[in-house]
């Protein structure tokens, strides 16, 4: 099992994470929160296993991409905040998140919760996009 490639561990990390997140959104409530935590623990554990199986070239690619892609992704997500704050965009996105955060009995979340979560997702998404751009760029540059 430990001889699985880094790519296999990464795939397992991503698939398991998104499966657990999807189940957490459907389940909701305390059980949903527990599943959301489990998703992040799963992601961390399998990412660590993937990291250990990677060779130094790929590790260098990921370090570079997290540092520079993460930084510019963060700055980019902040620079694009005015787009997010457009009423049509903001209301739609917070509406979706508000629906996902509804308790099992149908009661809505605290008023600020969807906007707060959207802000966190926005930053994380920006960093992830920045990482992917840098990661692809690194591999193209090193061919």
């Amino acid at each position: 099992m430990s001889r699985l490639s880094a790519r296999s561990w990464r795939l397992a990390a991503a698939l398991g994470f998104w499966a657990l997140v999807a189940i957490a959104i459907v389940t909701r409530g305390t059980a949903g929160l527990v599943l959301a935590y489990a998703a992040f623990i799963w992601l961390a554990a399998f990412s660590l296993l993937a990291w250990k199986r990677q060779d130094e070239f790929e590790r260098a690619a990921q370090k570079f991409s997290w540092v520079f892609g993460g930084l510019f992704g963060l700055l980019g997500s902040l620079a694009l905040l005015p787009v997010l704050l457009q009423p049509g965009v903001l209301d739609t996105l917070t509406g979706w998140i508000g629906e996902a955060l509804r308790a099992p009995d149908g009661s809505p979340p605290a008023p600020a919760a969807p906007a707060f979560l959207l802000g966190a997702i926005w930053i994380a998404l920006g960093q992830l996009v920045g990482f992917l751009v840098c990661w692809v760029g690194w591999h193209i540059a090193k061919r």
């Binding site: 060779d55 130094e56 070239f57 790929e58 260098a60 591999h139 540059a141 090193k142 061919r143």
Partner: protein, 66 residues
């Protein structure tokens, strides 16, 4: 840093995949090192030298890869 890995590998009749397997790295790594796009760590440089039965300085030299 310049290196003679491509030539040495050809002399052995190995593909990049063969060498990658011997070094327990990806073929992309071997390709990047051969092309001078990536300088290996000292431990990996020692492994490369071991695989070819040579000293590090016989494989790697100062300067840019042509």
């Amino acid at each position: 840093m310049k290196n003679r890995i491509r030539v040495l590998r050809a002399e052995k009749g190995w593909t990049q995949a063969d060498l990658a397997k011997l070094l327990d790295v990806s073929r992309n790594s071997v390709n990047a090192i051969e092309n001078g796009k990536y300088d290996p760590s000292l431990p990996l440089a020692f492994r490369i030298a071991d695989v070819f039965g040579m000293k590090i300085e016989e494989i790697f030299q100062k300067g840019d890869q042509k």
